[in-house]
Subunit: 186 residues, 2 copies
């Protein structure tokens, strides 16, 4: 975090006030259900949406990237606690599926692959899903989404075959019309 002053909302009595005064928000990883429940318990969803909508930079990694999406429905985490709702910040209109793992053909594991899980998601939901492999990120700025980093991403859309996109690709066409609050960060 370099020379910037970092205040953790875990350490303050008034988390909303910290968000109101922050010059950027970073939300890291952990259990997505616990994270989203924490955001509800601290009543932070609306203030984060308002501030990001007004231009505040938001950086999310792992679970922190999922809660920027419309819901937590693409998490792979264990539902160890029950948040009041699966609805998340909705800073963007698409879903991220981080730590994306390609199917291992040699596996004898009987559980579903991440691709199969995302296909289950698309049977129930309309949002496009970005499978983000380790080493990559999405930059959303000025109404534009760009894939950054060292690995390709896999994009899943309802009733379409998945497509692979390479780093530095502009994803506006694939994720078009899927902005919400973040579209105001021009």
């Amino acid at each position: 975090m370099g020379c910037h002053q970092l205040t953790s909302v875990h350490d303050v009595s008034n988390a909303r006030r910290v968000v109101e005064r922050a010059r950027a928000i970073f939300v890291g990883g952990g259990n997505t259900f616990r994270l989203l429940k924490g955001l509800y318990d601290a009543d932070l969803l609306r203030v984060i949406r308002e501030r990001v909508s007004a231009g505040l930079p938001y950086i999310g990694s792992s679970a922190g990237s999922i809660v920027a999406c419309p819901s937590l429905r693409t998490t792979k985490d264990m539902p160890v606690v029950q948040p009041p709702s699966f609805e998340a910040l909705g800073l963007v209109g698409f879903q991220i599926s981080p730590h994306y793992l390609d199917p291992d053909p040699s596996s004898t594991h009987m559980g579903e692959t991440q691709e199969e899980r995302i296909r289950q998601f698309l049977e129930e939901n309309g949002e496009t899903v970005v499978g983000l492999r380790e080493g990559s990120m999405l930059r959303v700025e000025g109404g534009t989404v760009t894939l950054k980093g060292s690995t390709a991403a896999r994009i899943f859309r309802s009733r379409e075959e998945p497509v692979e996109v390479s780093p530095t690709a502009n994803l506006d066409e694939l994720l078009g019309q899927q902005f919400r609050y973040a579209e105001a960060t021009t």
Copy 2:
């Protein structure tokens, strides 16, 4: 299912009636969130608890074994739909974590292992968790739990180190006092 007549609750107009008349219940795998939501939507939880409590055999595999537990909080499935509650059938008082995978020391994957996920569960919940590897099952009958099959299971308890148990082990001591409805099936 051999020579027995099998009626799927998906194919009937009155699913409750099928459960009321069944001589056994089998619940298979799939997405646990979708399964539990389906049980709520069809209003089947109470009638299944009542019948199993009165001695009806219940067989669950994968997601069907998780919904026999107090909640779905040990599923690895993607939360593609939101059930009204995470509370499940509670036929037993412990949690099952099926398709249990041991940590792979050579993995570069940054996501949590199944053991780490179960430890997160235990930070938030009190129920003992049985990590069931492929090829094994738990038999709960007459107030007794036995591990069957070809692989060992890993038992996780709050504030204790996990323990390994071998097939044919009696788990009453480890899972003791953790029965609910199933204890009546003597």
